[in-house]
Each structure stands twice: as structure tokens, then as C-alpha cells.
């Protein structure tokens, strides 16, 4: 460990890069975000609780949390497969598929919402086949899940892809030459190597889903207590010129996602150390 630290001092540029990082982070993110916190700080405790813990808001937290969790889990699983296939296998049209992955970012969220609604509504391409069997997607919780899965997918794939591409085949060859079968190589050697990136992708896709607004309002139906997401409640507060109430909900969401991201980053740090040693 001490050897490592000594080696670290060999590389110059720590002060410059950290200084720039902190300054830019402060200017673009922290100062504006602190405005939300300060706005909320002007509220009394009772007002704050009333704003962030009413039954309607609680129902929205539940929906946002579970739909985001489900979407991020599905993305982590299928995203890993997609990234693996894109990096390791050759098949016709691979470049096009690779390009498709960025689509959720490039399409404005509202367009994604409209397109998904057009597909899954009862007269839509897919909806018209599902609705007769009693499966409703648009204007239900499942619709929210579908929209959140759509917007979160690139996070997992694009976080895994460069790491997969940099994986040195020597590791796999070494494992194979030491007698490991393919499955052992993957589960014991490759997956641990990919785990930090996978976790990052999961966390980012989850965090992004929590805050998503544009695509969800079109497909969720916005029914109070049932399919209202948290960002929609922020908008309804703003409609009443209630900036404080709006930022209060935002602060709760922010704190929750911050805690979650921090937890995941700590797990990752721990796993990396664990894995290295």
C-alpha cells in the first residue's frame, strides 16, 4: 500500500486537475443546487413536512422508487447482455444496433413519451394486441416502467462497453490455461472485473429514472395516488407559485438519490479494493 502511494506521487497534475474539477463542479452544479436548499431552508418544519410527506406525495415516492428500481434492474441485466454481444460477437447490422443504443438520449424525452404511448395505447401497434387480453400498458404503472427502462438503457450499455473493450484477453487465456471452463472464467474472472462498471450503470440509470418527467407524463395517465410521479407533483406546486414546496420535494429527492449514489460508490470502492487484494 505504501509502495502504491509513493508511485502515485510520480504523476504530476493532481493539484491542477482537482482544482479545476472542484471549481467547475462548484460553479455549474453546487452553487445552483444550493439555491434549492436555501429556498427550502426558509420553510418552517411543519410546512416542510406537509409539503413532502402528504399521502399523495408518499404514493408518488412509492411509484417513482419501485418503477425506477424495476427499470434499472431490467436495464442492468439486459444491458450487460447487449454490451457483451456488441463487443464480443460479430453479426450483420452490428453497427446499426450499436448506434441505436444512444437513441434514448437523442430523442427528446417528450418524443419518447409520445412514441411509446403511440405504441402501447389501446389502438397502438403493440397495444391493440395486448389490450384484448386484458394487458394494459399505457396509462398504468407498467407504462411508467416501460418509459423509465427506455431512458435508462444507454447508461448501462455505454458504461460497460469501454471496460469490456479494454479487458485484456490474456486474463481469460490465463484462466483457461489454468483449467477453468468458460463459465468459471466468466463468473470468477470477468464478472468481478465488470462489476464496478455494472453497478455504476445501474445506479445512473436508477437515479436518472427517479427524476424523469418528460417521457412519463405522456404514458402514465397522471392519476392521483396511482400513476403520479414525483416530478409531476413538483410541477403542480409550481403551478400554485409555491416555489418553496416545489424545492422541498426536490430536496428530498436529491438527498435520497445522493445517499443512494454515495452508497453505491462506497460499495464500489470497497469491491475494487477487495478484488485487487
Amino acid at each position: 500500500m505504501s509502495l502504491l502511494r509513493k508511485q502515485h506521487s510520480v504523476l504530476p497534475g493532481f493539484g491542477l486537475s482537482l482544482g479545476f474539477t472542484l471549481a467547475y463542479l462548484g460553479l455549474i452544479v453546487l452553487v445552483p443546487l444550493s439555491a434549492a436548499f436555501l429556498k427550502t431552508a426558509g420553510m418552517s418544519w411543519a410546512d416542510f413536512v406537509a409539503a413532502v410527506a402528504s399521502p399523495r406525495v408518499m404514493a408518488a415516492y412509492r411509484l417513482s422508487f419501485f418503477a425506477s428500481l424495476a427499470a434499472a434492474s431490467v436495464n442492468a441485466f439486459f444491458g450487460l447482455i447487449v454490451a457483451w454481444v456488441l463487443v464480443r460477437y460479430a453479426f450483420p447490422g452490428k453497427r446499426i444496433v450499436d448506434a441505436l443504443v444512444d437513441l434514448p438520449f437523442a430523442l427528446p424525452t417528450a418524443v419518447a413519451g409520445i412514441a411509446l404511448t403511440a405504441i402501447y395505447a389501446k389502438n397502438g401497434w403493440v397495444g391493440q394486441w395486448l389490450e384484448p387480453h386484458g394487458v394494459k400498458i399505457a396509462f398504468t404503472e407498467i407504462g411508467v416502467f416501460v418509459a423509465l427502462t427506455f431512458i435508462g438503457l444507454p447508461f448501462v450499455v455505454r458504461t460497460l462497453q469501454p471496460v469490456l473493450e479494454e479487458l485484456q484477453p490474456e486474463i481469460e487465456e490465463a484462466a483457461a490455461s489454468l483449467g477453468a471452463n468458460r463459465w468459471q472464467t466468466i463468473s470468477r474472472v470477468l464478472l468481478p472485473e465488470l462489476f464496478p462498471a455494472l453497478l455504476t450503470g445501474f445506479a445512473l440509470s436508477f437515479a436518472r429514472a427517479l427524476g424523469e418527467y418528460g417521457s412519463v407524463v405522456f404514458i402514465s395517465g397522471n392519476m392521483p395516488m396511482r400513476t403520479e410521479i414525483v416530478p409531476l407533483l413538483i410541477i403542480t406546486k409550481l403551478e400554485q407559485y409555491d416555489y418553496r414546496g416545489a424545492t422541498a420535494i426536490a430536496v428530498v429527492m436529491l438527498t435520497a438519490s445522493f445517499g443512494l449514489l454515495l452508497l453505491i460508490n462506497l460499495i464500489q470502492k470497497w469491491s475494487r479494493r477487495h478484488h485487487r487484494v
Binding site: L16, V111, L164, A207
Partner: protein, 293 residues
């Protein structure tokens, strides 16, 4: 074959074309995984894309090009490109600096710093616009001073650029950090030992090593910068032909029941994302050429 083996070290991409036995999966596994991936993507990505183009072309190519060539649509394209051209390079510089200090050094509070960098992902787009209103708005911290000096931030181009920068803030950094951590610093040490200074080590060793990650970061950052809707919507003011970006213009067209126009502009955004992917392929190809020579 031997050439390929060493070359895979620098360019694992070639692996796909000439896989090694130890890294090769049985045929059925390949088929199964590829099939699963394709079916999943078909449902979650291809279908929406087809829907967008289908709607855009519903009234034929004439209507499509009329919608795309409209003066307001072109103004929105211009504004979107400006916002992306400022915010993406800014975030690239930041992302590289942040990844460098996080991956190459150990210091206290590193996890906290990474989490703070992640934070803009978790902020609802509604809020990321609102916070700039709270700072620069007429009722905000700097608002009165800005109005007095006639400086326009929100409801003008700078506000749109700021909101875009905020929303795309973590992309490049987030792409590079796990990559640079996985790579370690041994090659840079080697370079330094061989007499390179810090900048040389960075330009000649680090940058080539992280170029795929950087490229993915730029592509994502760019796609998201162009497609951002919520945050920009709060700070734009929606002045037709002046402060409407492409996503906002899509909303306007949609609200005018001009569905063909709305999806046509949306398809342009999808095409812009594809263009960045084509650029990526060209870089890859040029690299492979230079490599083969």
C-alpha cells in the same frame, strides 16, 4: 494470427472478427445472447424509433422536408447546435480533468466527489431548470443585478447553454472514471520513468488508452445535450424562432396538431445521434488502417 494476438492488446475490437479459442463462447451461447439482446433492443429501442420515422413520413417525403426546412425549425436546429457545441467541449475538459485526479490519485473524500459528479443525473430535469431560475431569475439571487446591467442569462441563449451543461455534466467524467481505474497507472509510470513529463504522459499514453471511453462519453454527452427537454424548457421562455431548441420546437409542433412536423424534427435529432456514431466508426476505421500499415 500472431499479429492479431498482439494487436488485440491495443485493439480488442478486432477480437470479434478473429476470436481466440479461450475467449470464444460456444455457438449456442452466442446465438442465445445475441438473440436476447436483439429482441430486447427491438422492443425497447427499435420500436419507438420506427414509430418516430413512421409518423414523420406518414404524409410522404414532401411533408417531411417541408417540416424540416421550415424557418422556425432551422432556427431551432441552429440553437441546439450552439448549445451542444459549447456545453460538450466544456464537459469534455472537465470530464478528463476529473477522471485524471480521481483515477490516478488516492485522496480523502473521493467517493463523495464522485457522487457529487453523479448528482446532475439524479436531479429531475424540472429542478435543474428551476435552480438556474432561482439564481438568475428576476426574483433570484443575481436577477436584480443582471436586470440593472441588462445582462440576459435565462430566457436567452446563455441560460439554455447553462442548463444543457448541467444536464450533461457527468457524462464524460462518468465514462472515463471506471475505465481509467480499471487501467491503472502503470503505463504512465513507465512513460515518466522513460523521461516523459506529465503532459506528454497524458497526451501520448493516457489519451490513446482512454480514447474509446472518451468517445463514448462525447457521443452520449452530445446526444443528451441535443435531446434535453425538461431543463431547457424551464429556462427557454419559448420565444418562437428565438429561444426554442429542437426538442422544444417538437413540443410546439405537437401541440399544434402538426404530428408529421413534430416527428420529422424528432427524427432529425435521432439522425444527429446517428451522425456522431458514424463519426465514431470513421475514427475506428482510420485507426485500424493506420494500424495495419
Amino acid at each position: 494470427m500472431a499479429v492479431v494476438v498482439t494487436s488485440t492488446f491495443v485493439k480488442p475490437r478486432l477480437m470479434a472478427e478473429a476470436p481466440l479459442r479461450a475467449t470464444q463462447d460456444p455457438r449456442w451461447v452466442r446465438w442465445l445472447l445475441t438473440g436476447t439482446a436483439l429482441v430486447f433492443l427491438a422492443f425497447f429501442l427499435l420500436l419507438p424509433l420506427v414509430a418516430v420515422f413512421g409518423e414523420a413520413l406518414r404524409r410522404g417525403l414532401g411533408a417531411y422536408f417541408a417540416a424540416v426546412g421550415d424557418a422556425d425549425a432551422l432556427a431551432s436546429v441552429k440553437l441546439t447546435l450552439i448549445a451542444a457545441l459549447i456545453s460538450v467541449p466544456a464537459n469534455v475538459v472537465f470530464g478528463v480533468a476529473a477522471a485524471w485526479c480521481i483515477a490516478k490519485y488516492s485522496f480523502r473524500g473521493k467517493s463523495l466527489l464522485i457522487t457529487l459528479i453523479d448528482l446532475p443525473f439524479a436531479v429531475s430535469p424540472v429542478i435543474s431548470g428551476l435552480i438556474y431560475v432561482l439564481v438568475f431569475g428576476a426574483q433570484g439571487w443575481l436577477g436584480p443585478w443582471l436586470i440593472e446591467h441588462d445582462v440576459k442569462i435565462i430566457f436567452a441563449v446563455p441560460g439554455i447553454v447553462l442548463a444543457t451543461t448541467f444536464v450533461t455534466f457527468p457524462f464524460v467524467a462518468r465514462e472515463l472514471i471506471p475505465l481509467m481505474q480499471a487501467q491503472g497507472s502503470e503505463e504512465e509510470y513507465a512513460a515518466i520513468t522513460l523521461g516523459a513529463n506529465g503532459w506528454q504522459a497524458f497526451w501520448r499514453v493516457t489519451l490513446p488508452n482512454i480514447k474509446w471511453g472518451l468517445l463514448y462519453g462525447v457521443i452520449l454527452c452530445n446526444a443528451r445535450a441535443m435531446g434535453e427537454f425538461g431543463a431547457v424548457s424551464v429556462v427557454s421562455g419559448h420565444i418562437r424562432g428565438e429561444t426554442n431548441t429542437m426538442p422544444l420546437h417538437v413540443e410546439i409542433l405537437y401541440n399544434e396538431y402538426n404530428f408529421v412536423g413534430a416527428f420529422a424534427v424528432a427524427s432529425l435529432l435521432a439522425l444527429l445521434a446517428l451522425v456522431t456514431l458514424v463519426l465514431k466508426s470513421i475514427v475506428e476505421w482510420r485507426h485500424a488502417q493506420a494500424h495495419a500499415a
